[in-house]
């Protein structure tokens, strides 16, 4: 993110939209995400020309064409590498990375690992729809076992990767989760992500209306949402179901449990501490059904970013050193051949 050192002219969501016709399928969750991002940006106090959106390949990766910022639609899986180069070359830029489950965790899994490990200061929006959309519906690394698709007509056999578990495992310092249609929740998460220095990893459950419609309905439907979602807030007890249920840590088994909250007594519940990595892992790993889905900032424990460390080292190393190119060329042992007759 940017240091705010001058008055930034106010913007409206429309100022962040290009004149390009949006080409996602009607009803695609990507529209909602685009809207939420364009709503969040005016509240961040940033300028379009200092903002960069970088994407890979896939439906989600068309995102930069619709943002009136600098944008780079790169190649499949490689957006983290290009983002790294942009940030190292110009740390003042505010870098956003848009990717999907196939782009970010399959073909680009290695780069995502290293982006997160290095803690490059940027925001990663991983649109997870558990399917390859743009290539017409093959199962993806986040698809649930048994997913029927053109490449798994009798059901997929692979275990899925959990994006947030991957991010924490890679050493991520900011891991959050939200839903495409959560138009109030998502901008808040985006703001938190932007305020965080280092890689902010956000998994966004995104509904693919064509190839995987309704795959998240069990917890995204408005009616049942209070029962199936737990919205995490730092420093607050982990309550859901309109305050009637909550999460407790069983201190003997070291596992989470869902308990009823009687007469508002939340004293037995865990209080969400964003810096607690062990609990973060448990929240990500909770099997849905028995547990609700954890949404919000699951883990946030800032540490120095690679770009920041690199700048600091550079300043330290080059302080007082002059860049004498002529001397560099002569470095090492040299000898003079003189122009003398009879030489």
């Amino acid at each position: 993110m940017n240091e705010i050192s001058k008055v930034i002219p106010a913007t409206k969501p429309d100022d962040w939209a290009t004149d390009q016709e949006v080409r996602w399928c009607p009803g695609c969750g990507d529209y909602a995400i685009l809207k939420a991002v364009q709503r969040a940006l005016p509240e961040l106090g940033v300028e379009p020309h200092n903002t960069v959106f970088i994407s890979g390949i896939g439906c989600s990766s068309r995102f930069p064409y619709y943002m009136e910022t600098y944008g780079f639609h790169t190649i499949h899986g490689r957006a983290p590498t290009i983002a790294t180069g942009v940030k190292l070359a110009n740390p003042k830029l505010d870098v956003w990375l848009v990717t999907g489950d196939g782009d970010g965790l399959s073909i680009g899994g290695n780069h995502m690992l290293h982006l997160v490990r290095r803690n490059i200061d940027c925001q990663v929006l991983l649109f997870n729809n558990e399917i390859y959309g743009l290539t017409k519906g093959q199962y993806s690394p986040t698809s649930r076992p048994g997913t029927r698709s053109p490449t798994s007509p009798t059901g997929s056999l692979e275990q899925p990767v959990k994006p947030c578990a991957f991010a924490i495992g890679a050493g991520g310092r900011f891991v959050a989760r939200t839903i495409d249609t959560a138009q109030k929740h998502m901008p808040e998460i985006l703001k938190r992500a932007h305020a965080h220095k280092g890689t902010s990893f956000i998994e966004i459950y995104q509904n693919c209306v064509v190839y995987n419609d309704g795959v998240f309905d069990a917890f995204t439907e408005k009616k049942s949402a209070p029962q199936t979602q737990i919205l995490l807030e730092h420093g607050k007890p982990m309550l859901f179901a309109n305050g009637t249920r909550g999460l407790k840590l069983n201190r003997e088994t070291l596992r989470l449990e869902v308990v009823d909250v009687v007469e508002g007594d939340a004293s037995q519940l865990i209080v969400h501490d964003e810096t607690n990595k062990a609990v973060a892992n448990m929240l990500i790993d909770m099997p849905f059904g028995e547990f609700p889905v954890a949404l919000g900032v699951i883990y946030c424990d800032p540490a120095s970013s690679f770009d920041e460390a690199m700048q600091a080292q550079e300043q330290q190393l080059t302080a007082g050193k002059s860049a004498d190119f002529a001397a560099l060329l002569r470095r090492g042992q040299s000898w003079e051949v003189k122009a003398e007759a009879g030489r």
Partner: protein, 634 residues
Amino acid sequence: MATAAKVPDEPHGPSSGGTSHEVVHRDSVVVRFAGDSGDGMQLTGGQFTLSTALAGNDLATFPDFPAEIRAPQGTLFGVSAFQINFGSTRIETAGDQPDVLIAMNPAALKTNLPALRQGGLIIADTGEFSERNLKKARYEANPLEDGSLSAWQLLAFDISKQTLESVKPFGLGNKDALRCKNMWTLGLALWMFGRPRGPIVEWLSAKFAKSEVLRDANIAALNAGHAFGETAELAGPLKQFSLAAAEVEPGLYRTISGADAIALGLVAGAKLSGLPMFFGGYPITPASAILHALARLREFDVTTFQAEDEIAAIGAAIGAAWAGSLAVTSSSGPGIALKGEAMGLAVMTELPLVIVNSQRGGPSTGLPTKTEQSDLYQAVYGRNGDAPMPVIAARSPADCFEVAIEACRLALKYMSPVMLLTDGYIANAAEPWRVPDDGSFTPFPAKFREDVPEDGRFNPFTRDPETLGRQWVKPGTPGLMHRIGGIEKGFASGNIDYSPENHQKMTDTRKAKIDGIARDIPAQAVEVGNDHGPLVVVGWGSTYGPIRQAVELARSKGHDVAHVHIRHIWPLPANLGELLKRYQRVLVPEMNTGQLKTLLRDQYLVDAQPLNKVSGQPFRIAEIEAAIEGMLAQ
């Protein structure tokens, strides 16, 4: 007379004192140091090179080492060798055949003997010719004793024992003491060729600054080897050689390897363009040396980034190019293959990028430490789609400096990735380099668009009418926000455009842009010989030295043969086709199975004939000379 900048503590040339030895006057000598990969032969060779350069000789070197870091001791595949050709004449190659072979063990003798000139001198350490080592080298009898070396002059004595005695006062363990063998040997070699010890002593003092004992022991071994030559009552083969300093252009000289010259050339390119440099790399032999060199040059506004893989290295470089840096990535063949898709992205988004390929033997992992020039097709054609890219090649270690600057210039002027080809031989070999004057190169300042068009609509693919290079805008510039990507884009706007006529127009434009570079590069000159005649030998890259020498030898015998050396591989110089057609025959020696040959046939319909070598070793002059004579005899 050439004088060393750092005056050594003793006179140059064969010594006058001590036991008198025969002194042989020679124009040039080829020496090969060979030993176990743990024996420090590369170090010995490197120091001998420095000392030779300081003595004013021209030189070329050929380090030849195994891919294994510490191969099992005494084995044939663990032999590491360093060859140097030096003399008072112009030296272009590391020499066809060594005159002197210093063999530190039986395996080194066995693997290097075939290269030794008939009648040449073998210096062997008898201390290492034990039964066990002989067996490891697959010798049934001791070659030092069975007369099998009668075609050569043999000087065998116990270097190991001599070394142990010389370092005795320092109380080193046997293992550490024996590690001084290379310095003892170097001392002897310095004596043989009348080289000063001063610079080596200086270097040892710096290297072992933290251990006085090791410093003193190594210096003692060096002095003992020198004294051995001076005083030993050795009849026969041990002679001193006298070589006059070479006739070279006046100026300040240093030795330089290809990898270091590329690093310096890139820094120069960044300086001439006024840009910070971003270098993305991933460890790979023999390209890593460039990354190592640049990682130490942060004060020159150089950012180096060791990426997680080859793709990330070029990806980060592309990101940095977009952000306004002079971006560079570097690798060797297998790594370049991995970068292929990203190179296409740089072609498509029209961003400046220098890609250095230090070629090695292929395919696949191939021969990591051996040289080859078999990535020409990959450089010119190796991307999906019609993805033209300029390709230029360095011919020698010192040439790398200029070629690197040229790569930067082309990349920035034409907003294009540029492939710079070098190879394992050039990367590792060293030669004297005349340090250019700061200011001897024309600056090519990078231009960024910053003004906002009156109608507020900025088209990032607006082109320079002359070069067809597009405008470069740094993200962060107010009012010029735009999107680029790998998907086909509208001719000016850069927005997605799949329309048939637009793709045709964009493909044609990308091609025309690169083709147009032919107008911006020097016309092809003839290196040696006439601009017409019965035969021209056409080369590129590191075959320059042996081709040039072979052509000169053939010409000295009265043959009408010319040498054309191509630096710009793609696009080729505008006059090349017309030039080649003025010769009756075209011979193309290459360390591949005929890649430039195919390119020339394709571009000009000339009957280019190949001469191919893919043994991991550079061409010998004699091999090319034989081909020249063969062709002329047809």
